[in-house]
């Protein structure tokens, strides 16, 4: 039996674990993967051209639609870069408001990831629990921004609304409820041996590979790369806050899962610190800088923030007009997904959903 036994298999785009629209061309030998080639671009909407055809502020609600899981991070990233082009500062109050909403958005995004990943590897009950927890966070975001999915909360120079009255009480009750749920679903997963068998030691990414592929965010931090844009290239007021960057060294699916879980707790911590800073300001302090020049100066700006999936940023070339000349979106998933081929080649076919789920895919900002 020395015949060639390899065969080609197309996984996706209709496969249930393919979170939206993309596919892999696999070459398999029995159950072992010999070669893999990711096919992306099914959701390519031409964002870079869309943004250059519009004025700067008209691009912000569009960037809300970049990623359907954490739209607020993306509109903030774009606004942050525009503020770099216009060279405007934002008032202190806006900084803390942005940090609170960004961290809430990160928790909501991680909750959705947990639900999706658990379902991918067969823990079907886990679809419900993180979704419940996400609901609590979404209610808080709705209270601040007035929307549940595409928030359109930031403006050039600040945000459009202050916090509603009684927000502290609401935050207190919500985080208490969230923590109760959090530990409930933690028990459900951590105690399940099947979950550990399917994630521990699967899809291991070494530190050298993580650096060489340019991975960012939780994927890089699970492989021992101690880098977080919030701490190492601080924006808004993150340098005044005291928080821990979660780093693990195993580099497998379980490490990536743990990093995100612990990040959720860290985000709650950051929210409270930002609330304290916000609370120290006067109620009459401005939350929006209205002093924006009509046209920006010429120049090139690249600014980045830490989204739930890692470093997301915008490279903007300005020619001095009221529309950008060129916009390039740096998507965290774009870099992270490139590691999929080395992660799954040599492994088994059934490991693909576990590896893919742990990368935390959002096709919206992958294809742009």
């Amino acid at each position: 039996m020395s015949e060639k036994t390899e065969m080609n298999l197309f996984m996706g785009p209709q496969h249930p674990s393919m979170h939206g629209l993309w596919s892999i061309r696999l070459t398999i030998d029995g159950e072992t993967i010999v070669d893999a080639d990711s096919q992306i671009g099914y959701l390519h909407r031409g964002y870079e051209k869309l943004l250059t055809n519009r004025k700067y502020d008209q691009g912000i609600p569009i960037c809300d639609r970049l990623c359907y899981v954490e739209s607020h991070s993306w509109s903030t990233a774009y606004t942050h870069s525009i503020e770099g082009v216009y060279q405007v500062e934002i008032p202190d109050k806006a900084k803390w408001l942005r940090i609170i909403t960004l961290e809430l958005q990160r928790i909501a995004s991680h909750c959705l990831w947990l639900a999706a990943m658990s379902v991918d590897i067969g823990a079907l009950t886990m679809l419900i629990y993180p979704m419940n927890a996400r609901e609590i966070i979404l209610n808080m975001l709705e209270m601040i921004t007035g929307a549940r999915m595409t928030y359109n909360y930031v403006r050039i120079g600040g945000v459009w609304a202050d916090l509603p009255p009684n927000f502290e009480k609401r935050m207190d009750a919500s985080f208490e409820e969230f923590n109760r749920l959090h530990f409930e679903f933690l028990d459900l997963l951590e105690e399940a041996q099947i979950f550990r068998i399917r994630t521990q030691g699967i899809g291991t990414l070494t530190r050298e590979e993580a650096l060489d592929f340019g991975t960012v965010g939780p994927v890089a931090r699970a492989s021992g790369v101690d880098f977080d844009v919030r701490r190492d290239d601080p924006y808004f007021g993150y340098d005044e806050l005291d928080f821990r960057v979660v780093v693990r060294h195993e580099g497998d699916c379980y490490a990536r899962y743990r990093v995100r879980l612990e990040e959720m707790q860290e985000s709650i911590n950051i929210c409270w610190q930002a609330w304290d800073k916000y609370n120290a300001l006067k109620a009459t302090d401005p939350y929006r800088n209205m002093d924006i020049p009509r046209r920006p100066p010429k120049g090139e700006v690249y600014r980045r923030i830490e989204t739930g999936r890692g470093e997301g940023g915008f490279f903007i070339v300005s020619e001095g007009k009221d529309t950008p000349y060129r916009v390039r979106i740096k998507s965290p998933v774009f870099n992270n997904l490139r590691t999929l081929t080395p992660l799954i080649v040599g492994g088994k076919l059934a490991d693909i959903p576990a590896v893919m789920g742990s990368i935390d895919l959002c096709v919206g900002d992958l294809d742009r």
């Binding site: 992306i40 650096l211 060489d212 340019g214 880098f227 190492d232 060129r326 740096k330």
Partner: protein, 155 residues
């Protein structure tokens, strides 16, 4: 920040066309097209710029800029390598052999802007269909109904 530029200028001399500190820990290095791979190797191995951040191109109608952003896990610095190339020929050396993470970024730049990267291991279209004609982000691209090549023209 400025010592990064000085170090590269001392090492490569005339190959560094310009150094500009853009503020916020971004330093822009303009390099001649011939020396870009050597400068990249040097900045990776000697200066610790190990994270390939992104690669992109800017079409200026009379020239094309190809820009690589490289960051480092140790600090906030971002190295911006910039090469100015002829817009009609549009050929530049690929940096994928240096940082494998540049693979998809350079494929996308080829796809949308038509920059041909030499020595790239697998230069195919990434986002657009393989039988698409033209490069949509070029300034002279005409928007029209998509023209596909027939399957039989396509190997």
């Amino acid at each position: 920040m400025s010592q990064i530029g000085e170090k590269l200028q001392a090492e490569f001399g005339d190959a560094i066309v310009g150094v500009e500190d853009r503020g916020e820990a971004r330093i822009e290095i303009k390099v001649t097209a011939e020396k870009i791979v050597e400068v990249a190797e040097f900045s990776k191995h000697e200066m610790g710029f190990t994270i390939p951040n992104m690669c992109t191109g800017v079409d200026y109608k009379d020239k094309m800029d190809v820009i690589w952003h490289i960051s480092t896990p140790d600090s906030a610095d971002i190295l911006v390598l910039k090469v100015e190339i002829d817009r009609d020929e549009c050929v530049v050396d690929s940096l994928t052999p240096v940082w494998i993470g540049m693979d998809w970024h350079e494929r996308e730049t080829y796809d949308l802007l038509g920059v041909n990267f030499t020595n790239h291991p697998d230069l195919r279209r990434l986002l657009m269909p393989e039988n698409w004609e033209g490069h949509p982000l070029r300034e002279d691209y005409v928007y029209r109904k998509p023209v596909y090549r027939k399957p039989e023209d396509f190997e």
